[in-house]
């Protein structure tokens, strides 16, 4: 276009020749009915939402090779046509700005071959000099299952790396470890239909209204008649607590005391059939002996909840015909996360709320395919929930893959925080980060940034520019949701299909294509020979999972298409319906749990407890949602919630800027929201923002079993820094 015609066009625009009616006026399409022309789609692609793990079925509307609209899939069993704000704007994510379109080396665009060769050569040089301990991988919960399966084989067998973990350790590792300790393997036992069938739903540290929104209507608008009694256990009056019938405002880290008190009262009231439980679970006597020290009054004192509330809650749970105990990060994000999970499982076992309709201890997972990596990944366990130290499992895998058993790793290797610690101490010198943004999501940001800056080679593979890609030596541009094929598994173990609606931008490739290129350059392409396409990888994985608790063998892609999503194992709605658990003796296990004090506790210099969390408008570190105008417009900035009495003492008014400091760092300016949603002495900050990053404050303490961070409890101080 010539400068002259550009000037003419600009002039015509300013004079208002075009009022946009042709772009935005109504058009009618068969699927949508009357709709703005800008959103009128000519074809529809059936897929699964790529944000949280609820796993809603949806349709992407495409016109002229661009995603222009989305609709909930009315036939999908999870959401029945409904979507929430992030899902409803998901098509806008694909064409958002900030996409990576070319590999770069040292910030300069490079060809794929060159980028992959540089990466492989650098990693191999490190391994030659410092051994296989010197290179590690951190991945995500947002690839498709086929890619996790491929990556696991590439990392542990092909590249022979000892340290490979995912950001899933930052969100649901405690649930995994807790399930393993209670039942012998991982695997959420219940399903969403249980939320509708239950008499009582306890949402324990689970703000589903913000974080798993499409589960809320499943509870509120039960298709089976009566709405269950909803009990929310949370230190904050979350949106979920507002829609609950009972809100138990437990003190931070008070939930172990609260659970001990509830179990104590159930035993006192004779609401536990001990004889039956003894037949199904080990460890009952130790539990009972431990609970001798726990009176309801002591529990009330330590949980910050009135004794009568504990009693009433126990009675409600104990008398329910079916009770779902659902939890998320309020439980998992703690140095005692794993043990708290076992205690929730114990409560379910004691009250018989497992393995039957309308009852289960239900961990609601975070990312869209965190479950896929739990089952296929090669991190906390080997693919198919196999143990590194179980000879039968090892022989099994060696046979399935036609490899020598000695090629299988003998142990899990370092978990996420231990990888970071090893980077900090210089033991790990090369790191490949895939689809995650630790600069914003990892606790104690300053330390993390120092660690990453010490790496000799940092390779980051992502769809968008992020603060982490900005630190990388080599950047690999990946396709994102809507641009690739595969499957996701949701929180109720339901496998749904994910499809490409449009092509990735520029030179971006799907993650599985990138893995295959790395394998070829590394010289281990033969390992992935049978995973040439996502379909092939899925079929291979089905074979590998056969006979395992997470059995996908009968869940063919065709069957998923017919049923709109199928639960493992092989279509079963619930686990443990026979009363047999996955320990060798078929019994579950219960544990006594004693609460520990918060280590970075409130004191004169840091008088507030900081709780972190999320808001419905944003996703993780906003690398996606921060680029979508509608969502940004609903929540444009981070904020800190402060109780009115604390605010008055500090002289802070609504909307004032304050400085929040911890022993580790500070947020210089953040807007104060004065609200009794938080308890006095406690503050809350959503963690999504790179600017005003909550993880500058959080403490890098981790659960000793799951290695999950303690993101809900650390102490901070607040200072007013003047009016706006």
């Amino acid at each position: 276009m010539s400068p002259f015609s550009r000037t003419v066009d600009r002039g015509k625009r300013l004079l208002g020749f075009d009022n946009g009616e042709a772009r935005y006026g109504y058009t009618t399409t068969a699927v949508q009915g009357p709709v703005s022309t800008s959103r009128a789609a000519s074809t529809w692609v059936r897929t699964t939402c790529g944000y949280c793990s609820v796993g809603c079925g949806m349709l992407i509307g495409v016109r002229d090779g661009r995603a222009v609209a989305v609709q909930g899939d009315p036939d999908h069993p999870v959401n029945r046509g409904r979507l929430f704000p992030k899902g409803l704007t998901e098509h806008l994510m694909i064409a958002a700005d900030g996409r990576l379109t070319s590999p770069t080396i040292g910030g300069q665009p490079a060809a794929w071959d060159e980028a992959i060769r540089t990466m492989v050569d650098s990693f191999k040089a490190l391994i030659d000099e410092h051994g296989p301990d010197s290179v590690a991988i951190l991945s995500t919960g947002q690839l498709v299952t086929e890619e996790f399966y491929t990556l696991g084989k590439l990392a542990r067998l092909g590249m022979g790396l000892r340290h490979y973990d995912g950001n899933t350790t930052l969100c649901m590792a405690s649930a995994v470890a807790g399930y393993k300790m209670s039942f012998g393997t991982d695997g959420p036992p219940g399903c969403y239909e249980d939320l509708e069938l239950a008499d009582v739903v306890v949402l324990w540290g689970a703000n589903i209204a913000d974080n798993h929104p499409l589960l809320a209507p499943r509870i509120m608008q039960s298709h089976h008649g009566l709405r269950p009694t909803i009990i929310a256990v949370d230190p904050r009056v979350t949106k979920t607590a507002m829609l609950a019938d009972v809100h138990v405002a437990v003190k931070p880290r008070g939930d172990i005391a609260l659970l001990n008190g509830i179990i104590r009262h159930l035993l006192d009231e004779g609401l536990v059939d001990l004889d039956e439980v003894r037949q199904r679970a080990n460890g009952i006597d130790e539990l009972l002996a431990h609970l001798d020290d726990w009176s309801v009054e002591r529990a009330a004192e330590e949980a910050g909840v009135e004794a009568d509330v504990i009693r009433a809650t126990a009675i409600t749970i104990g008398r329910a015909e079916g009770c779902v105990l659902a939890w998320t990060m309020g439980v998992n994000h703690s140095t005692q996360g794993t043990m708290t999970v076992t205690l929730l499982n114990t409560l379910a076992l004691l009250t018989g709320n497992i393995g039957k309709p309308g009852a289960s201890p239900m961990s609601i997972t975070g990312q869209c395919n965190a479950m896929g990596t739990r089952e296929t990944g090669f991190t906390a366990s080997m693919p198919g929930y196999r143990s590194y130290d179980n000879p039968v499992h090892r022989a099994d895998l060696a046979r399935l893959w036609s490899i020598d058993e000695s090629r299988l790793p003998v142990e899990r290797g370092r978990a996420y925080p231990d990888i970071i610690n090893a980077v900090m101490s210089g033991k790990i010198k090369g790191l490949w980060i895939i689809g995650t943004n630790p600069v914003v999501s990892y606790p104690n940001r300053e330390t993390l940034e120092i660690a990453l800056s010490r790496l000799h080679v940092l390779v980051v593979q992502d769809g968008f520019e992020t603060p982490t890609t900005a630190m990388a030596h080599i950047v690999l541009p990946a396709a994102i949701w809507g641009e690739k094929e595969g499957t996701y598994t949701n929180s109720e173990r339901r496998v749904s299909r994910v499809r490409a609606a449009v092509d990735p931008p520029g030179q971006a490739l799907s993650d599985s294509d990138i893995f295959r290129r790395v394998a070829a350059e590394w010289g281990c392409a033969d390992l992935l020979a049978d995973c040439a396409t996502p379909h092939d990888a899925y079929d291979e994985w089905r074979g590998v999972s056969a006979g395992r608790p997470c059995d996908y063998s009968e869940i063919t892609l065709d069957r998923i298409d017919v049923e709109g999503g199928v639960q493992w194992p092989n279509g079963a709605a619930r686990l443990y319906e026979t009363g047999a658990y996955n320990y060798p003796d078929g019994r579950a296990k219960v544990y006594p749990v004693e609460p520990e004090a918060i280590r970075d506790r409130q004191r004169a210099a840091y008088p507030f407890n900081l709780n972190t969390g999320r808001t419905v408008e944003h996703w993780h570190t906003r690398t996606k949602t921060g680029r979508i105008g509608i969502l940004e417009g609903l929540a444009p900035e981070a904020w800190v919630e402060l109780h009115p009495i604390d605010a008055e003492a500090l002289g802070v008014y609504a909307g004032d800027f304050v400085r929040v400091s911890s022993q580790r760092g500070a947020i210089g300016r953040i807007r104060a929201r004065i609200t009794s949603i938080v308890r006095q002495g406690e503050v809350f900050i959503p963690f999504h923002w790179d600017e005003r990053c909550a993880n500058r404050l959080t403490v890098d303490e981790f659960d000793p079993i799951s290695r999950e961070p303690n993101d809900k409890h650390c102490s901070v101080s607040i200072a007013r820094i003047g009016a706006r």
Partner: protein, 380 residues
């Protein structure tokens, strides 16, 4: 039965027989006057289209037997569309009232709101903290200020100062004021449509009166006898200008004091330009007095759109407000003391700051919102 939205100068709004008000993009010139009239911020200017658009309840979807898109999209079925009987609704529309929501009386709002049963007696809007300046609308600062200066000059001329230079100055200012106003429109190409709604819209009347004034002022250059007629039409034009700011949706403007303020600007600047220092001094004094009286009026109501406007002017823009008063005081002293040129410059600067403050310190009536409603970067 059609009933047009009364503010729109181009009759772009149409009330359908089912009660829904629709907006026709082809008729809209992007003047945004409707956005001032709506106390719920329903019409919104779309920079991409350079016009205003509003919810039409998905009229074609209703026609096809479908629910509006928002109703279909809501996962918890919180929105429904229902039929109502206009006559009954006119008698009792209390169901459309809610705490901190502008009264349903203002527009006879038919959005029925079901409140929670346990709503506290004292319920506030979470967005109340968020007090921030409005858009300055520079073309309108220009139009009102320059047209008022010209009309003030024309009045002064009609009163006796019959130099041809001053008539040329008045005519030139009148023309320039209108030219500048074109930059306020999203679609200047369709500016002529602005005169379509003389029956109801003060904006149409303003356009016609100020254009007629400019034409008469031009004729008055060679034919001095027309000057009195020009002055008369001009004053009517200032009145029409002021009237279009008197809308319930903008409480700080919604007062006869706005008419006083606009006329006082004309009395301050025109006579100062045409050598009538005493009139100019009184005019400037009246402008300051009317501003101060408006603060007293607004302070009686503690709600944000009233008290917040005063806070913006005296606190947020405190230095600017102080500068306006100081510069105007200097201007008054200067014109009274015989330094007419310097005095005119000071008064013009004072009134310029004052008119800019008039636009940026208004606080609109709006729906109560969540914490970020109306904040910088939010969807307003």
């Amino acid at each position: 039965m059609r009933k047009r939205r009364q503010g729109c100068p181009t009759n772009a709004y149409e009330k359908l027989s089912n009660g829904v008000v629709v907006h026709h993009a082809d008729d809209c010139i992007g003047c945004q006057y409707c956005t001032w009239n709506c106390p719920y911020s329903v019409p919104a200017f779309q920079p991409d289209r350079r016009i205003v658009t509003k919810c039409d309840m998905c009229q074609p979807r209703l026609g096809a037997g479908l629910a509006p898109a928002c109703v279909s999209a809501c996962p918890t079925e919180a929105i429904t569309v229902e039929r109502f009987v206009p006559a009954e609704w006119r008698l009792d529309h209390a169901a459309a009232d809610a705490p901190q929501l502008p009264s349903a009386e203002l527009t006879l709002s038919t959005t029925r709101i079901e409140l929670p049963h346990d709503l506290p007696v004292e319920t506030f809007s979470a967005s109340d903290w968020n007090l921030r300046p409005e858009h300055p609308h520079w073309p309108l600062v220009w139009l009102t200020l320059v047209s008022q200066m010209a009309i003030g000059a024309s009045c002064s001329i009609a009163w006796g100062a019959k130099t041809s230079e001053s008539r040329i100055v008045a005519a030139t200012l009148a023309g320039l004021s209108l030219l500048g106003a074109m930059f306020h429109l999203g679609r200047p190409i369709a500016a002529w449509k602005a005169v379509r709604n003389l029956r109801h819209s003060w904006l149409s009347r303003e356009v016609v009166l100020l254009s007629a004034y400019a034409a008469l002022a031009a004729v008055a250059v060679p034919f001095a006898d027309v000057a009195a007629g020009a002055a008369g039409v001009g004053i009517a034009g200032v009145y029409a200008s002021a009237r279009l700011y008197i809308v319930p949706g903008r409480p700080a403007w919604n007062t006869p004091l706005t008419i006083v303020r606009f006329l006082a600007t004309a009395a301050a600047l025109g006579p100062a330009l045409t050598g009538r220092p005493i009139v100019a001094a009184f005019g400037a004094g009246a402008a300051l007095t009317a501003t101060a009286l408006n603060w007293i009026r607004l302070r009686r109501n503690r709600s944000q759109p009233w008290l917040g406007a005063v806070r913006l002017e005296v606190r947020w823009f405190g230095p600017w407000t102080a500068a306006r008063w100081a510069v105007t005081a200097v201007g008054i002293a200067a014109v009274a003391g015989g330094w007419v040129a310097a005095g005119f410059a000071a008064l013009a600067i004072g009134e310029l700051i004052g008119r800019w403050l008039f636009f940026v310190t208004v606080v609109l009536l709006n729906m109560p919102g969540a914490f970020w409603r109306g904040a910088a970067g939010s969807n307003r």
